[in-house]
Amino acid sequence: MAKKERPIKGAPTARDYKGDVNPDWCPGCGDFGVLASLQSAYAELGRGSHDHLTVSGIGCSSNLPGFIRTYGMHTLHGRSLAVATGAKMANHELNVVVTGGDGDGYGIGGNHFIHTMRKNIDLLYIVMNNETYGLTVGQASPTTVVGEKTYSTPFGNIETPLNPVAMAIVSGATYVARAFSSERKQLTELMINGMQHKGFAFIDVISPCITWKGDEIFDYWKERVNMLEDHDTSDKAAALEQAVKTGHDTQLGLFYHDTNSQSLDQMEPVLENGPMAHQQMGVTPEQGDAIIKRMM
């Protein structure tokens, strides 16, 4: 989608981040809320729209970069975090936001998920978790609950779902939250703070799929979510304890925020001279001589 950069007059608004293409999601899809929040969050951040790069994998949710007015990459299924890491390392002045689905991020992309967090790459990763493979017509995903009948589990799923929030804390993410696509205000705030956080920020967003989960899915979630309160976000063990809690309720909010650790770009000495993409290319004659000398 070509999205001619609109001249922004005055403070940017969410409208300035609207793409030229209308979202092709089913009416009522939870992803609309995430898109709207992200547009607000970008606007709030106040940088030029060309300073953002929105990277996704493949899935309904991963179509998002097409609907937003920033640079975008719609990469391979499961590979968004690796591509985004490469882009961030090449130009750490870009604000790189990664969006995708639970299948994309926790299924096929699981290895990049844990290792990108371990390395504390300075990204905001937003997963639209609808507990299904939406685009491929509703198979069980790594977050599908036990017992659920799906395209691939006609007699009910027998595999325990994974816990993205707990996984993120353990893996080394330094900003870990859960949100709900219908709780737009909280979601937007978490996004803004996540973009401002220097390090890996992760938001697991409950973003229901009405097509494969049925119309009642929003009510199901509205009835269960409640806000994480009286919680010390700097305490890792406490965050984990909250994260592994099971039961009827699902907590929303910021679970963990590590403000001490440095992100990889902050620790990488070769970035001292500015973004790689803008540094001098090649080898100077002096450098070349020094190299050759060691070979003689």
């Binding site: 989608m1 070509a2 999205k3 001619k4 950069e5 293409v21 092709d24 030029g48 729209s49 060309h50 300073d51 790069l53 493949i58 179509n63 970069p65 097409g66 007015r69 920033t70 640079y71 975008g72 990459m73 719609h74 990469t75 391979l76 590979r79 690796a82 591509v83 985004a84 890491t85 490469g86 882009a87 961030k88 390392m89 090449a90 130009n91 870009l94 290895n111 990049h112 290792h115 685009l135 990488e268 000495p269 070769v270 001279n273 790689m276 993409a277 803008h278 540094q279 001098q280 290319m281 090649g282 080898v283 004659p285 450098q287 070349g288 020094a290 190299i291 050759i292 070979m295 003689m296």
Partner: protein, 597 residues
């Protein structure tokens, strides 16, 4: 000066410093201005492993390890037993006499036992004592070939002083001197001796040469997952990362490696990675994605013996079809196989300019022989500032009439590429098919006419590329009776075999392919029109190149010489094979590997 051509080989266990021996001797040769080509027959570093390093030294450029070994140095008992028969008659054999109960028996060579224990008894640190053996025998070696000891001393200081300290340097110099002096007194020198020639050369391995070529081409991002025999590229990059300002990242797997390269390339860096067959297989999905998003990347595959995990420490040219078939569907791509170590250096900027211009993936097909082999080169032959042509890259706001279309349909198929961060050019690139402005064809709408247009736009790039790629080279007489055809790393050995055949009165020429894909049928057939009785030489079982070449050009060779036992060709394998094929009993000759490690 008569041509000097001498082959030294050293055998031992990992940890005994065979590499050090090789690098030191290589550097000594380089300082003498002598040319070197090495081949290391080795195994993974675990107990029981054995390494046999062959170092060919010549007054003229040389690119294979030769047919005969003049001098063997055995660092352990195992090597004495294994390799005593591998010296040519009239050659010499150096070994540590403490290792063997009974002296090896061969009366057609000079046996050179060294009383190492005695020489090294002054070294108190046992480990140091054990480790200095190679230096001692190198001292002996230098005397036999007529090189001077002080060059070795300089090299010991250069390589060890800073890392290991004075004590280690002193111990090494001491035993080197003892080894040298012992030879002066007890052994006869070879008739042909080292003679200094100008210019002094430098000494480098193939993986480093490719890394250097990448650095010269302006690579700013390199990612890797370790995989033999490609890991040397990572090592060079990691070593020089800070000095040259290159971002080097080790990843969780090869899928991450190539996807990071794609991300970095999209954000504006020249970016590359290297791996071997299995790692490349994992990368294959992303190769197609780079082509679809029109992002220029370079991937190096340093081939080893396959299939599967196969022979991690052995060579093969077995991944050609893997590269040809990497990723689903049709898309623009370039495959190049450097023909010798230094060609690996020169290839990188050439390839980067092409992939930047045509915004597509470029693949380099090297192999263990090339990647882990060493050669010497004239520093003056290295161009550290090759032309860097980034093609139609936009990184600044500019005047446009109308909207920026990332995938604009053009006659050349090339669409100007803006990098993220550039004002005024916001766009999305996608692995789904898309129209000119990046809008998805597949998900949102599916228009067969738009699809056809964009597919043809992409593929038109191939027409531009194929015109820029040099044709295969023809060496030797135009109208020869026999034509040897090869590709990639075998250039040096085929070239020498061809000369030998000509010397034996069989008029032979040599056609060699470096740029493998795309192939211009007409141009190639014009070169192949010079072929006499044609023989394709390659290092794999099914004749991957022969089948590919026939498919692209219709050319069917008269005979084939193939090797797939893990060891590289020696010149006489090809000479013998050619003779056999000329007799006409067979269409396929598979040489017998004489030297077994």
């Amino acid at each position: 000066m008569a041509k000097y051509d001498f082959v030294v080989a050293v055998g031992g266990a990992p940890g005994q410093g065979i590499d050090t021996f090789g690098i030191s001797l290589g550097k000594i040769c380089a300082r003498y201005g002598l040319h070197v080509s090495t081949y290391s027959a080795y195994q993974s570093l675990i107990r029981g492993g054995h390494t046999f390093l062959t170092i060919r030294i010549s007054s003229e450029p040389v690119a294979n390890h030769g047919d005969e070994i003049d001098l063997i140095i055995a660092l352990d008992k195992n090597s004495v037993e294994k390799h005593i028969e591998n010296v040519r008659p009239g050659g010499a054999f150096i070994y540590n006499e403490d290792d063997v109960k009974k002296a090896p028996e061969r009366d057609d060579i000079q046996l050179c036992p060294i009383p190492y224990k005695k020489f090294s008894s002054g070294i108190e640190d046992r480990k140091l004592q054990r480790r200095a053996l190679n230096t001692c025998l190198l001292g002996t070696t230098l005397r036999l070939v007529g090189a001077e000891l002080n060059v070795l001393e300089e090299i010991i200081i250069q390589t060890l002083l800073k890392r290991k300290g004075q004590e280690v340097v002193d111990a090494n110099i001491m035993v080197a001197t003892a080894g040298y002096e012992h030879a002066v007194e007890n052994f006869t020198q070879f008739d042909d001796k080292f003679e200094k020639q100008e210019p002094a050369l430098a000494f480098v391995d193939g993986n480093s040469a490719m890394a250097m070529g990448g650095a010269a081409a302006g690579v700013k991002f390199y990612s890797a997952y370790p995989m033999s025999p490609s890991t040397g590229v990572l090592k060079w990059m990691a070593t020089y990362a800070r000095e040259l300002g290159i971002m080097v990242r080790q990843c969780e797997d090869e899928i991450s490696v190539i996807n990071m390269v794609i991300g970095a390339a999209h954000a504006g860096c020249r970016a590359m990675c290297a791996t071997s067959g299995g790692g490349f297989a994992l990368m294959s999905e992303a190769i197609g994605s780079a082509a679809m998003m029109e992002i220029p990347i370079v991937v190096i595959n340093v081939q080893r013996g396959g299939p599967s995990t196969g022979l991690p420490t052995k060579t093969e040219q077995g991944d050609l079809w893997q590269l040809l078939g990497a990723s689903q569907g049709d898309f623009p791509k370039i495959i190049v196989a450097p023909i010798n170590i230094m060609d690996g250096f020169h290839t990188m900027p050439e390839l980067f300019n092409l992939v930047d211009k045509y915004q597509c993936p470029g693949m380099v097909l090297s192999d263990l022989t090339l990647g882990m082999g060493f050669t010497t080169f004239d520093p003056a032959s290295i161009n550290w500032q090759p032309e860097i042509d980034r093609g139609e890259l936009i990184s600044e706001l500019r005047e446009m009439d109308g909207e920026y279309l990332r995938f604009q349909i053009t006659d050349s198929g090339i669409s100007p590429r803006a990098i993220p961060g550039t004002p005024g050019h916001i766009h999305v690139v996608a692995t789904d098919d898309h129209d000119e402005d990046g809008g998805l064809i597949s998900d949102e709408f599916t228009n067969p006419h738009k699809r056809r247009d964009i597919m043809e736009k992409r593929q038109r790039k191939m027409e531009g590329i194929v015109k820029l790629l040099p044709p295969p080279t023809l060496e030797g007489p135009e109208d020869a009776d026999v034509t040897l055809i090869g590709w990639g790393s075998t250039h040096g050995v085929i070239s020498e075999a061809s000369q030998m055949l000509n010397g034996d009165g069989i008029a032979t020429n040599h056609i060699h392919f470096k740029w493998l894909y795309p192939i211009d049928e007409d141009v190639v057939n014009e070169v192949l029109a010079n072929a006499g009785r044609s023989i394709i030489v390659e290092c794999n079982y099914t004749g991957q190149f022969a089948r590919f070449l026939r498919g692209e050009t219709g050319f069917k060779a008269d005979g084939h010489i193939r090797k797939y036992d893990g060891e590289p060709f020696m010149p006489h394998h090809i000479v013998d094979g050619t003779r056999e094929l000329l007799i006409g009993k067979t269409e396929l000759y598979v040489p017998y590997q004489e030297i077994v490690v």
